[in-house]
């Protein structure tokens, strides 16, 4: 789309778009093409010789038990992270929306975790849940009576990274739920109240359905976040361990390619992730109604 009233095309127009196009070509398209080629090649770790092997890398990763396990872990990890942070974000958002006083203060107290790096969130929760020194771990062991050791037990470690990743994301969800809740017409809620619907019923019958676009959008965003942006949590806290229990797909790409120097396998895994995120983006554009209004 273009402005009806615009300037004549000249060298300036090309000059203005050049930086963007150059950086995009250099760091998106060229690497993507290279990745595509690498995924079809088998090369030695030093990249001196390579051989064209068609889809062998893909066959190999999809028959690799560790890769399949990593897919399972990533799915569980991202769904759990999304669910936890969405549920808490929605609950707090509804409560904050009901509050009449101190709204600004409440918002201030709830949005700052957004600015905490995932890696730092990981460190904070590692301390809280540390088997020897953590206070929450102490509570889990001595009050709840759990055997708790995220440093040795895979399930505990997965729980730890889910909590650390979800905590940071609560603020993000909270901001969007607040915006969504404020957009719900008060008259609808009032009408339901006059008809005798209690707060819980109003929530399920009116608020929740009207929030469904926000919930759908946030689910997608949270899953993308859990897939890609939690690399820092994994790298600082568990390094994929113990015993590969927290080896998510992105961490595995890094480990196989950058540490293990297995270019072909890493590239094939990257390509699978790329296909996944493109699918998600297209689906999102299809299903989420675009609310942007253009005035021409």
């Amino acid at each position: 789309m273009i402005k009806r009233s615009h300037f004549k095309a000249n060298a300036l127009a090309y000059l203005l778009i050049t930086p963007q196009v150059l950086v995009t070509l250099a760091f998106f398209y060229w690497p993507a093409i290279q990745g595509l080629l690498q995924s079809l090649m088998l090369s030695d770790p030093f990249g001196r010789r390579s051989q064209f092997v068609w889809l062998e890398n893909f066959v190999r990763i999809f028959t690799d038990v560790l890769y399949l396990k990593s897919i399972g872990i990533t799915l569980f990890f991202s769904l759990a992270t999304a669910l936890v942070s969405l549920a808490i974000g929605l609950a707090i958002g509804c409560l904050a929306n009901r509050a009449l006083r101190a709204k600004a203060l409440i918002r201030t107290l709830l949005i700052w975790p957004y600015a905490v790096a995932p890696a730092i969130s990981g460190i904070l929760w590692l301390f809280l849940l540390h088997p020897s020194y953590g206070v929450v771990a102490y509570f889990l062991k001595n009050v709840v009576g759990m055997h708790w050791n995220p440093l040795l037990n895979g399930n505990d470690a997965l729980f730890l990274v889910v909590v650390a990743s979800a905590w940071k994301q609560i603020s993000y969800n909270f901001v969007f739920f607040m915006a969504g809740l404020q957009a719900i017409p008060l008259s609808l809620i009032e009408a339901a109240a006059m008809d005798g619907a209690g707060p819980l019923r109003r929530f399920w019958v009116i608020t929740f359905p009207l929030l469904s676009p926000t919930i759908f959008f946030l689910t997608v965003m949270n899953i993308i976040y859990a897939f890609f942006e939690t690399f820092g949590v994994i790298h600082t806290v568990t390094q994929g361990g113990p015993g590969g229990a927290t080896n998510t797909l992105v961490y595995k790409v890094y480990q196989d390619g950058f540490i293990g120097l297995n270019m072909g396998a890493s590239a094939a895994q990257s390509l699978v992730l790329m296909a996944l995120i493109i699918t998600v983006t297209v689906l999102q554009f299809r299903f989420v109604e675009r609310r942007v209004q253009y005035t021409t």
Binding site: V23, I111, A115, A117, Y133, T295
Partner: protein, 310 residues
């Protein structure tokens, strides 16, 4: 404040505030605990469970964290990277959007599509090839030289001992930390949408008055975009400061890496002295700048977050 016409029993209101307080405490607990730990001496922080009353060792712990890893230098690096990404992204995408919206030229749609297609392609899905590109920015040209067999040709022309070897590495440099993250389809898209909502009359009037495109940009478009820019500054500064994977790949020396990555060396491992107080002090120090930016620019932050994803 508009009073809602729904029932407001004192019990329900009290419950709302109590649950809200519980929620805020749960969200805030990790930070409260980190602050407490950061103010305690080692023998108290290693006690199980740790006392929940803050001590007076905060500055000492900060100092210890500062000296234990290259935190001072790394904070500077983080700042340069975050500021560079923020500034670069906004300049590049604003100029790009200006070109796409306000000029009519043949490759306009192609350029927009080229940028738009990268909307959702994080660095995480193209780790190695992007790294290779950064390791030698002239890689594509070298490839061209090899494919066109320029080397034998040049050798034939100038003599035997000549070879074209093009190399420009971005590893361990600020350019390398910043440049690959500067292209942003989302920012371009945001500015494009915003520019499309600006009344046509403004550009018409500017043209009638004989303003050149760049004068129009500086005098009209830029002032109108101030709130959008402020919102993006908050979002992108936080994004840049909190980057993890890319600085991890592109930097190898502790002097060039960022503070978020440097923190990893403060985590006590199994056989270390459990200096969690120092680890927490360092974590607080590193998370402070983006948290402050979000809190101080709250209004723009919320606007930026919601608009960017719309």
């Amino acid at each position: 404040m508009i009073a809602m016409m729904v029932e407001r029993t004192p019990i329900l209101d009290t419950c709302t505030y109590i649950f809200l307080m519980v929620g805020i405490c749960v969200v805030g607990f990790p930070i409260f605990y980190a602050i407490t730990a950061a103010t305690l001496p080692l023998d108290q922080v290693a006690r199980v469970p740790m006392p929940l009353v803050p001590g007076d060792q905060f500055l000492i712990n900060i100092h210890a964290a500062w000296n234990k890893v290259h935190l001072g230098r790394q904070l500077v690096n983080s700042f340069i990277m975050a500021a560079g990404i923020t500034f670069g992204k906004i300049v590049v995408s604003m100029l790009g959007a200006f070109s796409i919206v306000y000029f009519d030229y043949r490759f306009r749609k192609v350029a927009f599509a080229t940028v738009f297609c990268t909307l959702m392609l994080p660095v995480e899905v193209r780790i190695l090839p992007t790294y290779e590109m950064a390791a030698n920015l002239l890689g594509p040209l070298q490839w061209l030289v090899n494919v066109l067999h320029l080397n034998p040709a040049v050798q034939w022309v100038v003599g035997n001992n000549f070879e074209i070897s093009l190399e420009w590495s971005l590893l361990n440099s600020y350019t390398g930390l910043i440049l690959p993250l500067v292209a942003s389809a989302t920012c371009t898209f945001l500015f494009r949408q915003f520019f499309l909502t600006i009344p046509e009359e403004l550009c018409e009037a500017a043209k009638l008055d004989g303003a050149s495109p760049m004068v129009f940009f500086w005098k009209i478009l830029l002032p109108l975009s101030v709130t959008n820019i402020a919102a993006l500054v908050v979002i992108e500064f936080v994004y840049g400061w909190n980057q993890y994977l890319w600085p991890l790949l592109i930097t190898t020396s502790p002097n060039m890496t960022t503070a978020v990555i440097g923190l990893k060396d403060l985590i006590p491992q199994a056989d270390d002295v459990p200096m969690w107080n120092v680890a927490m002090a360092g974590s607080l120090l590193v998370m402070a700048p983006p948290v402050l930016v979000v809190l101080l620019m709250q209004r723009w932050f919320v606007k930026g977050l919601v608009e960017k994803e719309k």
